[in-house]
């Protein structure tokens, strides 16, 4: 049961972290009215993944290994692009918020309507088919034993619970720190999603170098341990990482973080002049 619990936790965390930050952000800029769009994306992804998973498990056709890995890989890479877009969109909105350009925030949110649905959809859906196949396998086993299904469900519930804890913790951070921290965390998470996608495509044989490992710390961080699970679920850290995965991680994270930090510093001096008195008007929750 513990092993199945940890799979559920890992797959759940992979989806929950990005959605959590997205929701905390929207609440933080006092735009709860766009929350339904995020939930729409999440709901669509869950329904679609469970639906496709059920069709593949019980229906006439299965999905070949190569196709499944390719879908996971391509969606992960697209998700990285979208999360990056989201980080810089947040940065721009944060700056407008500091300068009290409410009109600009509204304009950005109008343009970002589809974007929010897509980010939420891909964050949950990119590995949704694999998760759904795992869940349906647990459902199929219920004739013999219900322990795997209970374990998997508890794991996913724990992931959602952790997401909620992170969410309430985030709301307590002050506004300007919040934007810097969440942006940096999202970039690290997105870098992990990208290298995960590269690994899927390597397994599918589309990208080379599956057996060329940059490092292998599986002995110190076993993938089936609880800390291995948390590292994999939150940051997509793989204890056995290929050179290509590591290269993709660095090639994405280094320049993106640099641009992000530069841009968020640029926004600061102007904001500082304005920030003393008017910031009190920004709702504190």
């Amino acid at each position: 049961m513990l092993a199945n619990y940890l799979i559920g936790l890992r797959e759940g965390l992979e989806a929950a972290l990005i959605v959590t930050i997205l929701i905390a952000y929207v609440v933080k800029i006092n735009r709860r009215d766009v929350l339904p769009r995020i939930w729409l994306g999440v709901g669509l992804a869950v329904l679609l993944a469970l639906g496709i998973g059920a069709l593949l498990t019980f229906g006439t056709y299965g999905l070949s290994f190569t196709a499944q890995e390719t879908i996971g890989g391509v969606l992960s890479i697209v998700a990285t692009g979208l999360v990056t877009w989201m980080v810089f969109w947040m940065l721009r909105t944060a700056r407008d918020l500091k300068g009290h350009l409410q009109g600009n925030i509204d304009k950005h949110l109008v343009g970002a309507g589809l974007g929010l649905v897509l980010v939420a959809f891909l964050a949950v859906g990119r590995e949704g088919i694999e998760t759904a196949l795992f869940i349906w396998a647990a459902v199929q086993a219920t004739g013999a034993t219900t322990m795997p299904l209970i374990g998997a469900a508890l794991g996913i519930v724990t992931a959602i619970g952790l997401g909620w804890l992170i969410y309430s913790g985030m709301l307590k951070i002050n506004l300007s720190k919040f934007f810097t921290y969440t942006g940096a965390i999202l970039i690290i998470v997105a870098a992990g999603v990208l290298s995960y996608g590269v690994h899927d495509l390597q397994e599918a044989g589309i990208l080379p170098g599956l057996h060329a490992l940059a490092f292998n710390v599986s002995a110190a961080v076993p993938p089936d341990s609880w800390y291995g699970t948390l590292l994999k679920g939150a940051l997509n850290f793989s204890p056995a990482t290929t050179w290509l995965e590591m290269f993709a991680w660095l090639a994405y994270a280094a320049p993106t973080l640099t641009v992000f930090i530069t841009k968020s510093r640029l926004g600061r001096p102007g904001a500082r002049q304005l920030s003393v008195a008017p910031r009190a008007r920004v709702p504190a929750h």
């Binding site: 290994f65 391509v74 950005h108 795992f134 057996h211 089936d224 056995a240």
Partner: protein
């Protein structure tokens, strides 16, 4: 002000094209990646027992074509099942996230040739129970597609040796 408006439209255009490309790719992969689940249509069903130390496949040869490996995990760690190419490295098929007590299917379309089966309890290391597996030439393949089959064999052999060359 105009700069902001410009960047909004630019962003939504690039976003839209990214999502279109994504959805398109997904559609192509889903359609081309479908394999028949139907057990009746010349489909070989094999079972695999993945335990803590072993990886017992119910047969070590089967006719080329559609083969379903139903992998049951009788160990107490999460396991993975691999079908590897003749070189023992390239992954032909993989079933992962097989929790204890679970059973998952791997369906593959195999050309005639030599393969390896292996399990990876604990999701780490080189795996256990690596065994040779042979997909035998079927009559249908021999009569209808004899040229194609030999052609594929040649390509497979060449590919295998080129991979070996790269590794050595």
């Amino acid at each position: 002000m105009p700069r902001v408006i410009h960047s909004v439209s630019l962003r939504s255009v690039s976003l839209r094209s990214v999502s279109l490309v994504g959805v398109g790719l997904l559609g192509i992969v889903v359609l081309s990646g479908c394999v028949a689940n139907d057990p009746a249509s010349t489909h070989t069903a094999l079972t695999v027992d993945s335990s803590a130390t072993g990886c017992a496949v119910s047969a070590n040869e089967a006719p080329a074509g559609s083969i379903r490996f139903t992998v049951a995990n009788s160990g107490d760690q999460v396991t993975e099942f691999y079908l590897l190419a003749e070189d023992g490295l390239r992954i032909v098929g993989e079933a992962e996230n097989i929790g204890p007590g679970l059973s998952r299917d791997l369906v593959v379309q195999l050309e005639a040739g030599s393969y390896f089966t292996a399990c990876k309890p604990g999701m780490t290391g080189d795996g256990v129970g690596k065994t040779e597996f042979t997909a035998t030439k079927t009559d249908a393949a021999a009569t209808v597609n004899s040229n194609l089959a030999s052609h594929i064999d040649t390509i497979t052999t060449n590919y295998g040796s080129s991979v070996r060359n790269q590794i050595d």
